[in-house]
């Protein structure tokens, strides 16, 4: 579904990504780990077509990926650091608005279903301004998955979620992968991410420091690799 080869990005003289290979097949759930500034969010911004790499090759669904390819954007779902929801609109209106931009059919029904799925149905006609941070994150998850994307890109998705919300997110990710979709998420949640991912990748200073299939690597090995990347003892 996705294949990136030797992805590099430099801003001025500073190299942010220094040649990263990444791939996603149907059913894959790749967990990205590393210290702040390791390049996780930058890699996700390239894979979500927000920016072009300085060099390297990115292909999606067998075709070269271009950031102006609107058809390709419809096949991606992205959830960033910030929920990015409109505070003055209700939860329902937020989803309907994005549904319209994605030209979805039955947009009101889809919005209702998405709100039920993330547990916000009772608050659907309340302004998002009155939502807690966790509720906004749930709404952002509903928005990111509203158009049923094939690849989900999630940047620290567990941020602000309570345990119930985090479990809900994990279930959503597992179901997405079980349906043949692929997920790549950046996280600092070691335990939760280890249980969720089918593959783990640790970045350090823009390079892949360590990676392994979840089954092939024990949790201790993952924690050790992460500890080395963070320059501290594993959490």
């Amino acid at each position: 579904m996705l294949e990136g080869r030797q992805l590099r990005l430099s801003i001025g003289s500073r190299a942010i990504l220094r040649g990263i290979d990444v791939s996603l097949a149907p059913g894959d759930c790749l967990g990205l780990y590393g210290a702040n500034g390791a390049g996780k969010s930058t890699l996700l911004s390239i894979l979500s077509l927000q920016r072009e790499p300085s060099s390297g090759r990115l292909r999606m669904f067998g075709e070269p990926a271009r950031i102006d390819d609107l058809a390709l954007r419809r096949r991606l779902g992205y959830l960033g650091h910030e929920p990015g929801v409109f505070l003055g609109l209700t939860g329902h209106e937020n989803l309907v608005f994005y549904g319209r931009l994605y030209r979805l059919d039955r947009v009101h029904q889809r919005a209702e279903e998405a709100l039920v799925r993330v547990g916000l149905s009772p608050f659907r006609h309340e302004a998002v301004r009155s939502y807690s941070a966790g509720m906004r994150q749930r709404l952002a998850l509903a928005r990111a998955t509203l158009h049923r994307p094939e690849i989900l890109l999630l940047d620290e998705p567990h941020q602000s979620l309570d345990p119930a919300g985090a479990d809900l997110l994990d279930d959503e990710i597992r179901e997405h992968c079980a349906r043949g979709g692929a997920v790549i998420f950046a996280s600092h949640e070691v335990d939760r991410g280890y249980r969720l991912a089918t593959r783990l990748m640790v970045l350090r200073r823009g390079r892949v420091e360590w990676q392994a299939e979840q089954g092939a690597a024990g949790e201790d090995e993952f924690r050790h690799a992460l500890g080395v990347a963070l320059g501290v003892g594993a959490r």
């Binding site: 992205y78 960033g80 990015g84 609109l89 319209r100 931009l101 302004a127």
Partner: protein
């Protein structure tokens, strides 16, 4: 593209009607300018009559800065999601341009009567021509403001950068609208027509060039 622009405009108008974050401060600022002009210049002096077009347009432009400059910043954290949606960037430009035209028209509709009352100057006899000048001038200002707002929104210094970019950029337009309006108050109101033609040319340039460059402006 037009349908996407329509939905973005619907969203912006809904947010503005509920939050009143753009028009209210800009409108209050515009009225304060009118009052300060009223205090600073003696409206009873006949010389003020000749200054009225310049004072009116400067007031409208300054107040419009506040509204036009924030048309992109109301996206705030949502801008990333909006730019990721599978829509032509042109739809975003069209939506913001339409919003800015609406905002500036409402501001002018409030400020023009206030200026005539506080500066004790009646509208020119050719009210229809005057309204055409206002509409064309505001469309041009809104178009330039939309383009510069998109550029400034990418920077940390957007509040400072926008007037620095927009004031010099729109100075030919300001000259055109003030001259056209002054002509309506002069002995030969027909002289306004050549200025109206010039303003229309500015409008076309301010709409077409940013529309072509908008993709670039939102990526800088």
């Amino acid at each position: 593209m037009i349908r996407s622009a329509g939905w973005i405009l619907w969203k912006d108008i809904t947010l503005e009607l509920r939050g009143r974050e753009l028009l209210l401060p800009a409108g209050v600022f515009g009225l304060v300018i009118a009052m300060l002009y009223g205090f600073a210049f003696d409206p009873s002096k006949s010389g003020l009559h000749g200054m009225f077009p310049g004072l009116l347009w400067l007031g409208i432009f300054f107040a419009s800065f506040l509204a036009v400059g924030r048309a992109f910043s109301i996206e705030a954290d949502s801008a990333q999601q909006l730019l990721l949606a599978p829509i032509d960037r042109g739809a975003l430009f069209v939506a913001k341009l339409a919003l800015n035209v609406l905002l500036t028209l409402v501001l002018a509709a409030v400020m023009t009567p206030a200026f005539t009352v506080l500066l004790q100057t009646a509208l020119p006899a050719e009210v229809g021509t005057f309204l055409v000048i206002e509409a064309l001038g505001l469309v041009g200002f809104a178009a330039a403001g939309t383009a510069m707002g998109a550029l400034a929104a990418q920077t940390r210094l957007r509040e400072l950068l926008l007037p620095v970019l927009l004031l010099p950029f729109t100075s030919p337009l300001l000259l055109g609208v003030v001259s056209a309006t002054s002509a309506l108050y002069g002995p030969t109101p027909a002289a306004a027509s050549s200025w109206i033609g010039l303003i229309a040319i500015f409008d076309v340039i301010f709409i077409v060039v940013p529309a072509l460059l908008f993709e670039f402006l939102t990526e800088v």
